[in-house]
């Protein structure tokens, strides 16, 4: 909490209904956000049990300066991932961080399993576990609106919920946060489902007095100016990340048709500009963000043949356009939004879902699976049938679709086509086929995401240069460490260039934490060490990862990659991780 020397943790046990609040001074050594959440995950998880066992926890955490400075808007969720079987880490914006702050909790730990479908309401005065049997089976948008009408607390509240995919324990089910944001990756939705928890509402009204308002206002104004007046953030507001579609395609780095190519001949038709022209209706912001990068697009859908049309609004972003557009050969903006809507309703991760469907289209074409199994004549570009297949995955309508709901690694291992099931350590690939940076970065990254260490960015900056293995490993590991710090505050990574070390120290000083650069680096390393320990305890080893061959067949923006070289870089990174794990953590004593 601000100006306090402890982290306030709310513990909810769904099996017993017991609620406990802890004030943990020792957790200050992890600053907040991903640091605190990692430590709480390590304390509460059981590495010997499966990810969806009721004794496995869900952790939510916010940072030391959440919501009171611009663009510090996110909440982290940590869990044991049902998709990869190891570290589950996912971030979402919306209003959740703001409401947790005003409810007075730095972290929430949920354990156990409800006896019947439930939803949880959290306020500053208590927690209630309520009957959700009437909501079970509902789409994630519908359940949000029902809870909104049924519960008090308009304004300062956040409603997070799952759709049918989470209920049916689909391994990459997401959790929808306030309609347009998500804990998307690695299957938090399934962990909700395994606990029979449909939703959680957090409401908060606690005042947050700021003792030294003058300093706070000065710091806030400086950061606000940087965020709103510099070029850095304008891009995110204007066209948003969809502006990547065309350049990546032209460079050969846009995963297309199950990564058979890095160039999509219809990229122009699904570019940021095409969406802005055809579909964009509004832009929104997470609470505490002056930028507004959430782009909402609208399309028309016929209720049924010969009937009227309804207007559907969905959020779109680069990753969604890649996974449900170019990766599936969908060549128009309405078609992409049509599939995004199916993914939203069912509560799935868009990237994983797109990659699984990409495998299915190719596997059917090659005769590895049959149309009897797919029920539909699944093929690239046919967005209506692809959207139907999304429903089938979420519902697990037959054995194939149930297996597709376990992720592309699972399904490709079982049916065949491992070499074109595009996953990295069990997580479906991100939308950057740019070089060793993006591929090895996702492989070695703690959560196998492009956001762990931004390897794509290294590829872009070093595109015309000879590969320097050492330099790449240095970059990946230092970026991973620095992002542990940013994610312990949970700054939206779009603003990472605004939040330099100098600015971070200024912000922390305003909330009563006067840390040196050295202390911050120690904290960041401590967080990475904790994550690496968790991964190790869950059986993950970089050396065990077998990448699908297609990564090495389809040229990237920097040319074709060599499997042995990728392994060498990954092994060097693994060696550096062992060094970090072996380091003595002397400075933790300052916090005990």
């Amino acid at each position: 909490m601000f100006y306090k020397d402890y982290i306030r943790v709310l513990n909810i046990n769904l099996s017993t209904g017991r609620i406990r609040v802890d004030k943990r001074k020792d957790l200050r050594a992890y600053l907040g956000g991903v640091g605190v959440a990692s430590k709480l995950l390590q304390e509460n998880m059981n590495p010997d049990l499966p990810p969806l066992h009721e004794d496995q926890p869900i952790i939510f955490a916010i940072g030391a300066a959440s919501s009171v400075f611009p663009v510090i808007t996110k909440t982290v969720a940590m869990f044991v991932s049902p998709l990869t079987g190891e570290l589950g880490e996912s971030y979402a914006g919306g209003r959740l961080a703001f409401t947790m702050l005003h409810a007075g909790y730095d972290a929430i730990v949920i354990t156990g399993k409800s006896q019947k479908p439930c939803y949880v309401t959290v306020t500053q005065t208590g927690v209630e576990i309520k009957d959700a049997r009437a909501f079970w089976g509902m789409d994630s948008d519908k359940v949000g609106s029902y809870i909104r009408n049924r519960e008090h607390g308009s304004g300062k509240r956040s409603i997070i919920r799952i759709g049918p995919a989470g209920e049916n324990l689909c391994s990459y089910a997401s959790v929808c946060v306030d309609t347009y944001r998500h804990f998307g990756r690695l299957g938090l939705g399934a962990v909700f489902g395994s606990k029979l928890m449909k939703a959680m509402q957090v409401t908060g009204d606690l005042p947050m007095p700021i003792p030294n308002f003058k300093d706070y206002f000065k710091t806030y104004s400086k950061l606000y100016k940087q965020v709103t007046e510099t070029e850095v953030m304008a891009k995110y507001h204007d066209a948003g990340t969809p502006i990547n579609v065309e350049p990546l395609s032209a460079m050969g780095g846009l995963p297309t048709r199950n990564l058979t190519s890095g160039t999509f001949e219809h990229a122009e038709n699904i570019s940021g500009e095409a969406f802005a022209k055809n579909n964009l209706i509004r832009k929104m912001a997470c609470t505490g963000c002056p930028v507004g990068c959430i782009h909402i697009g609208q399309f028309r859908r016929e209720f049924d043949h010969g009937y009227e049309y309804e207007a559907i609004s969905v959020g779109y972003d680069y990753e969604l356009i890649y996974a449900l557009g170019s990766f599936l050969g969908v060549d128009n903006t309405d078609g992409v939004l049509y599939v995004i809507d199916a993914v939203e309703r069912n509560g799935l991760d868009a990237m994983s879902c797109g990659v699984v469907l990409g495998w299915a289209c190719e596997a059917l074409e090659r005769g590895i699976i049959t149309e009897e199994q797919t029920i539909l004549p699944l093929k690239m570009g046919d967005y209506v049938n692809l959207a139907k297949a999304v429903d089938y995955i979420a519902q697990g309508v037959n054995q194939l679709y149930t297996d597709m709901g376990k992720g592309v690694k699972h399904v490709a291992k079982k049916y065949g086509g491992y070499d074109f099931g595009m996953q990295i350590a069990g997580n479906e690939m991100p939308g950057y086929h740019t070089g060793y940076g993006s591929l090895v970065g996702a492989l070695v990254g703690a959560r196998h995401s492009h956001l762990c260490n931004a390897g794509y960015s290294y590829d872009q900056s070093n595109r015309d240069k000879e590969l320097d293995k050492e330099k790449l490993v240095d970059y990946l590991i230092s970026e991973e460490i620095e992002r542990c710090l940013l994610n312990s505050l949970i700054i939206c990574l779009f603003a990472r260039k605004v939040y330099s070390r100098e600015n971070i120290r200024m912000v922390l000083k305003c909330v009563g934490l006067d840390y040196t650069d050295e202390t911050l680096t120690d904290i960041a390393k401590r967080i990475l060490r904790t994550k690496l320990e968790i991964k190790k305890s869950l059986g993950f080893a970089i050396q065990d990862v077998k990448l699908p061959k297609r990564f090495f067949e389809t040229p990237t923006t920097t040319g074709k990659l060599d499997q042995y070289m990728a392994n060498e870089i990954a092994e060097e990174y693994a060696r550096r991780c062992e060094e970090i794990l072996a380091e003595e953590d002397e400075s933790i004593k300052e916090f005990v």
Partner: protein
């Protein structure tokens, strides 16, 4: 020589006066030259280096020291953004 230049997204603002209404590209005449290098063109258009991601000549990606000839169509893209 005369070439066609297409600037994407945020790069447009550096050459606002060259664009006609509703057009994404403009023609550029460069007197007294038979060819010009890609990075020379970027400087000529007053686009800061750090904002340029890459460029294509006639839809094929090229290095900065590759030459542009009369009649070529050049696309210049900003750097990739993500979290």
């Amino acid at each position: 020589m005369v070439i066609t230049v297409e600037l994407f997204h945020t790069l447009k603002k550096y050459n606002k006066e060259r664009f006609k209404d509703d057009e994404n590209s403009f023609e550029l005449s460069i007197d007294g030259r038979d060819e010009i290098l890609l990075d020379e063109l970027v400087s000529l258009l007053n686009i800061p280096d750090e904002e340029v991601g890459f460029a294509t000549i006639n839809s094929v990606k090229h290095n900065w020291n590759d030459p542009i000839k009369d009649g070529d169509r050049i696309k210049i893209f900003p750097v990739i953004i993500a979290g």
